[in-house]
Point group: D2
Chain length 163, copies 4
Amino acid sequence: MASGRRKSSKAGAGGQGEKVPDPAISLEDLKQRLETEFPEPFRPGGSLSIVRIAHGEAQLRYAFHPRSLRPGGTISGPTMMILADSAMYVAILASIGWVPLAVTTNLSIHFFKKPGPRALDAQCRLLKLGKRLAVGEIAIRSEGEDELAAHAVSTYSIPPNLR
Amino acid sequence: MASGRRKSSKAGAGGQGEKVPDPAISLEDLKQRLETEFPEPFRPGGSLSIVRIAHGEAQLRYAFHPRSLRPGGTISGPTMMILADSAMYVAILASIGWVPLAVTTNLSIHFFKKPGPRALDAQCRLLKLGKRLAVGEIAIRSEGEDELAAHAVSTYSIPPNLR
Amino acid sequence: MASGRRKSSKAGAGGQGEKVPDPAISLEDLKQRLETEFPEPFRPGGSLSIVRIAHGEAQLRYAFHPRSLRPGGTISGPTMMILADSAMYVAILASIGWVPLAVTTNLSIHFFKKPGPRALDAQCRLLKLGKRLAVGEIAIRSEGEDELAAHAVSTYSIPPNLR
Amino acid sequence: MASGRRKSSKAGAGGQGEKVPDPAISLEDLKQRLETEFPEPFRPGGSLSIVRIAHGEAQLRYAFHPRSLRPGGTISGPTMMILADSAMYVAILASIGWVPLAVTTNLSIHFFKKPGPRALDAQCRLLKLGKRLAVGEIAIRSEGEDELAAHAVSTYSIPPNLR
């Protein structure tokens, strides 16, 4: 068993034979709402695309664009921060449904390896999904690479009256 | 190649056929040296015991003792911090051999669920193992539970002349 | 009032004429309640003593005791974590009154310099004091020293029905 | 002076009557080199401007531009992350001279208050300036405001052969 967090992120549940809840929103519905709310990154052909969602999880891709490069030809730290934060946001929405007012309260990111001029993949898993707070971790890698480019842990505050 | 996460990162991608290096020190040797250096926690019957090591990984257990309890009958935050830090230390030694002067430079810990009066298990995986810095994540659970009690990310500084 | 930091954060300046609220609880009252709730550290002669409180601030001292030493004769990291967490707890109680169920949700600590065998002083300032979350920073120094031994940022969750 | 970190950040020195070293590079020289290396943000009229440097400190301003806004009319989190990271970079260069290869290894940021459509000010102070690592804190406020919009702690790795 690699992580175990997969199940434990189920906010209170967890367990071997346990049934993982379905996402709280369909991928198509989520994509449409995000594109309406944040047209720039989430429009078709925009920088961010959602690869996969599940309860407590999200996988996003940040398309390569030369404007993300910094001197030296590697992708900038802020680009990775945006990707990490977006992956966390999508993982929360996938788990509790469309609550666009969820806001980041903390992001802590470690940078390991400067990513070359390629797309970036982010894999987010919620570590905890409470009524008021959600905490998740995000692994960022260059497309097709195994080694981590960055790893983040993020906390979101969930509006009280919306759950 | 450095990162122990390589293997542990299975979670989605991750070098299937990849060969994982052996630990840099045997479990028996490590136990003896730790017991000599830190007799209080690591002696037989002490609070900390090493369950398993691998390159880039360590699993430790913190035995239950009533003195770890705080008002309310749950195990204290500092107990979990000590366990997280110890698991990280052991994972580094398992990966680079006996370098006792490796020191914590940062520990960031999120607390999720107050653990009841039982032993605690910590699973540490290195996210990055560089020449000067190692970064790892540590998942803490009550014995036999699936849900996380706490999750930490820690950075250690590795003495320059010892690698 | 939003931020205890308001006054202290001027960094050199400090509340141009701004009125700082009084502490929400007197130092004597707070000491008695803490001693009842957590007798071990907060009893007279115990390891922790409160030096000063103000709205959004607290100053604590951790008395030197040989059991806090680790190999090498310096004070252990967990001792500094306990001190940081306690200073944050006291700063919150000083600002909102006796709400003992406030709990740490995150602590991130950087270690800079191993402290020698002396008392440790912690100075906590709240950066934000909201209805549900408080965030503060804690500076830790050896008694009489100017250089930092450690610096922490901590988040507490405040029970919803108690404010 | 409220914080006392001003002195203690002097990496080993500290103390009341203590003489603070001059910046390791003049403001004009630093501005020119940054504009050459990172023309986009640091050119005259670009988004980032350096207000002040001192040994162990830097103050930067992020000019308001509508493209920094997110839905709701507040300035985005990534904008604050870029500002925090840039302020840390400038504070390090002000303290050790022109070492452009210094790289962020960790950034932890707390968001407190969504900043309105105005310029943002960042005040960075180094908490520790070692040979291999520098750690600093960054306070971010909307122009003319006293309350914090965000607070970050960041670690940079300094290339070994350049000091």
